[in-house]
Amino acid sequence: MPQLIPEVEHYSLVIEIGNMPVRVNTGDREFLRILENRYAGYVTSAKNAEIEFDVELAAPGNADPDAEVHVAQQNGKWSLTRGDFRAEWEPAKRRGWIRQTPNPFSIDAVLRIVHTLVLAKQGGFLVHAASAIRNGKAFIFAGVSEAGKTTISRLAPPDVTLLTDEISYVRRRDDGYVAFGTPFTGELAKLGENVSAPIAALYLLAKGRENRIEPVPAGEAARCLLANLLFFAEDEELVQATFYAAFEFVKRVSVSRLTFVPDARVWELIR
């Protein structure tokens, strides 16, 4: 009897960000290469992924990556949609699927969303912030676009390990918090190092005429942190969890305003 069913190749890789391995399965070798390049430094050999996604590739069309993201939960399944992808994830089964065109941006958005959902339940979060490690301590530099995240990253001296210039990854651990490197880049277009360290301080960035660090009242710190958190889900429980996570963070981590001029001397204050 001749073989009637053509054999389909399956490729897979594990992308591990923030100690959370996510397996991605695809039937397209070229897409696998795209992912290997996109997540260089974050592709691991972990066998037990916490989440597994099957990617179904669609032909390139008029997908709009700038369209609004919708993230909602129903009957234990998360539904994620944007102009350029549709995805579903069932936490209880640790599995999901993504339908997108062969590009690295759509899956990048899915990963960010999934990480925010997982972290929200664990007291952590993703935040619009650069972050870096110096002397074994992590420092977070939060701010909106143009606040100086990329600038301060560019100015970092050689003894500083950059974790990201755009999206910082924060996990709760014991009595404190740990920052992890992320492949989520901003203007610097350089992946962060895949390492982690306990967070020593959060700085709210502001450009000015001199370098100085000033204390920030706790309420303002919480407001500023909340304003910079990445959060997508239309889900009351997770909104509340994220709100409380921000307050716990500002209770336990020093938060200051860092005003700086764009030159390397600002790093003399960060130790």
Partner: protein, 105 residues
């Protein structure tokens, strides 16, 4: 006596930090920072104490205002907070939906 009763909406998240009461709507993630009077209403909104009693006990002594004027302002504020989904208001005592919800930590 005003028969208005107030209760915290358990679907919001609330935290007090350095005397500032901040509330986030679970519905649309809007963040509110309450002023002092709104904070008094929030903290006193147990569903069973009439607004008039809250005003007489908490607001009048704090601000040295006439009771009728304070009550009028408090009613306006309570309705505004209800409009944002922060408080629930009713002309009957309100049975809490979830006693643990809408914490005022």
């Amino acid at each position: 006596m005003s028969s208005l009763y107030l209760a915290r909406n358990p679907r919001v998240a609330a935290r007090s930090l350095d005397g500032e009461m901040m509330i986030m709507s679970g519905r649309d993630s809007t963040l509110f920072t309450l002023n002092q009077t709104a904070t008094i209403l929030w903290k006193s909104a147990d569903g069973s104490t009439p607004l008039q009693v809250i005003v007489e006990r908490e607001i009048c002594p704090a601000y040295e205002v006439e009771a009728s004027e304070a009550l009028r302002d408090a009613e306006t504020l309570a309705r505004e907070l209800a409009g944002h989904g922060i408080l629930r208001i009713s002309e009957q005592p309100i049975v809490p939906e979830n006693p643990a919800g809408g914490e005022s930590r």
